[in-house]
């Protein structure tokens, strides 16, 4: 690795901690970001000559703060009557040492930094864009590419989101236990949103959006290192790793989605699966179940099956049952119906999803799954109607192509039947 590559990696990894601490000092996101940028510029000059500091984050915090304070002081000098020197108490020479020793701040600094991106008034896409910009430090160009929008549009989106965040008064005091737990769960949901933004991409855009999955996993690991005993954060990490482990097998050469049953399992990433399984193991010991852990356990049962026939569908059905109780939602029931179709057959599965029709009337997957069950039952005409509806609702060309494949199979079957008569 070259010098610059090493420094870039170190800067990226220190960023959440450094920006989080600078935000605590200056209580202003723009000032904090600018201070961090300035510190990075100095690092790029100083580190190749003097070697990397022992604690990169502490170095960046100290340098960033000093540069920003100098700037503030210069601005002051141009104003008449500089009254109270609010920054004087930050000047003592001990602060550097104190900063290094006081690791307990870091946890709440980083959590706060993630949390301010989750402002409830921000739509999900803005939360994600903001987190990627502020916490991960991706460039606007990189984020724009992942969201498939122009750089100018993304720039505007982020600026707007930042303005919203600035208006919201996020508490800078050290949070209490209850507040910390709430922040943690909101932040976990946001990280999973980032992951899904990448994971739900079609084959044509999967490569451009894969960095979103990787970034979500990086943030998940960061959160787990800060909150080591939280089983749901272990579950979230396991879930993301187990899903992302299948990335190389999820699309064929034409970019069409390959169903789990048809994936080449030798392309699954064994290392990510091992890590995901190890995290579930750790989480289970706490005996405090939660939605991420259950979804991770379901993903683990798929990951453990070397061939589709070895999948433990009975257990998956039970886990979905538990998830339904915890987080009742028609989508969860729809997912469960696939397991039910494997355990009890397509008729039982179809009966299970019929009541969902009003709620999922515009949901692509509902019609895809319904069509598949109908096809298994030989009700081809009804299956065709469901598949047509699914194509009309498809979110990407890959989804539509996938359903067309089913339709082609239906046509072949019908033709075979006619010629067989």
């Amino acid at each position: 690795m070259t010098d610059t590559a090493w420094i870039n990696a170190a800067l990226t990894s220190a960023r959440p901690q450094a920006v989080g601490a600078l935000l605590r000092y200056f209580r202003n996101l723009d000032t904090a970001e600018e201070a961090y940028q300035n510190a990075c510029l100095r690092a790029l000059k100083s580190w190749p000559i003097n070697g990397p500091p022992r604690d990169a984050a502490a170095w960046l915090i100290m340098v960033g703060r000093n540069v920003a304070i100098d700037g503030l002081r210069r601005d002051r000098r141009q104003q008449p009557l500089p009254e109270d020197d609010v920054i004087s108490d930050l000047e003592d020479t001990e602060t550097e040492i104190a900063e290094r020793l006081d690791g307990s701040h870091y946890r709440d600094d980083i959590l706060r930094l993630l949390f301010i991106c989750c402002h409830p008034e921000l739509p999900a896409t803005q939360q994600i864009a903001l987190a990627l910009r502020i916490v991960s430090g991706l460039s606007v160009k990189q984020i724009a590419r992942a969201f498939l929008v122009s750089e100018a549009a993304m720039e505007q989106r982020i600026t707007r989101a930042k303005a919203r965040v600035a208006e919201a008064n996020v508490a800078f005091e050290t949070p209490g236990a209850v507040e910390r737990a709430e922040r943690l769960s909101v932040v976990a949901a946001m990280i999973y949103l980032i992951f899904n933004e990448g994971y739900s991409a079609g084959g044509d855009t999967a490569n451009a959006r894969a960095p979103l999955c990787e970034e979500a996993i990086r943030l998940g690991r960061l959160l787990l290192r800060l909150f080591q005993s939280e089983p749901e954060i272990m579950g979230l990490n396991a879930l993301m790793l187990l899903q992302h482990a299948r990335a190389a097998a999820r699309f064929d050469a034409q970019g069409s989605l390959v169903l789990l049953d048809d994936q080449d399992r030798s392309k699954w990433n064994a290392e990510m699966i091992a890590e995901g399984l190890a995290l579930i193991d750790k989480a289970m010991r706490h005996r405090r179940s939660g939605p991420y852990q259950i979804q991770a356990a379901i993903a683990a049962l798929h990951a453990r099956a070397r061939r589709p026939e070895e999948t433990d569908w009975v257990q998956i059905d039970l886990l979905y049952g538990a998830l339904e109780l915890m987080q009742p939602s028609p989508v969860v029931t729809l997912n469960r119906s696939v397991a039910v179709s494997k355990v009890k057959g397509a008729r039982a599965a179809l009966e299970m999803i019929e009541p969902l029709a009003p709620k999922l009337a515009n949901y692509f997957h509902f019609f895809g799954v319904r069509g598949a069950f109908l096809m298994q039952l030989g009700r081809n005409e009804e299956a065709r109607v469901a598949f047509d509806r699914a194509i009309a609702l498809a979110n990407s060309p890959a989804e539509a192509d996938h359903i067309r494949m089913h339709l082609d199979r239906l046509m072949r079957d019908s033709r075979a039947k006619i010629s067989g008569k």
């Binding site: 990696a9 990086r218 005993s229 995290l279 750790k282 010991r285």
Partner: protein, 122 residues
């Protein structure tokens, strides 16, 4: 004399390597390892999963299980085991047995990602 070489690095930095860079490093390491292996001088080599997958058993009375890696600085690394277990609970039970035999200190239990057996004759 047998020597153990213990590998330390910033896992954030290593974790941020892309697949190509990771493979490049592993290939370079393999060249060094292969030479030693052919000479019958290479013992087992392991690459561990990240510290987020670690669990620590404090050998107090009773032993205390803590999530995360061993993080104190008052004890020093004195040895290690590689054991084959079906899950974390089984590994923790082995660690408890070892702790009964030798109380005090701690064991960090970390899943092994890859293990190369090596070529030293016992």
């Amino acid at each position: 004399m047998l020597y153990a070489i213990l590998c330390y690095h910033d896992e954030d930095v290593v974790g941020s390597w892309n697949k190509e860079h990771d493979a490049e490093i592993m290939n370079k390491l393999a060249v060094v390892q292969d030479k030693l292996r052919q000479q019958g001088r290479l013992g087992p080599v392991a690459r561990l999963l990240p510290t987020t997958a670690a669990t620590t058993l404090r050998k107090s009375d009773p032993p205390l299980v803590i999530d995360g890696p061993y993080a104190e600085t008052k004890e020093q690394l004195l040895g290690f085991y590689i054991i084959d277990c079906k899950d974390l609970d089984e590994a923790l039970n082995v660690a408890r047995d070892l702790g009964d035999a030798n109380p005090g200190g701690a064991y960090e239990i970390r899943p092994v990602n890859v293990l190369f057996p090596g070529s030293i004759k016992a």
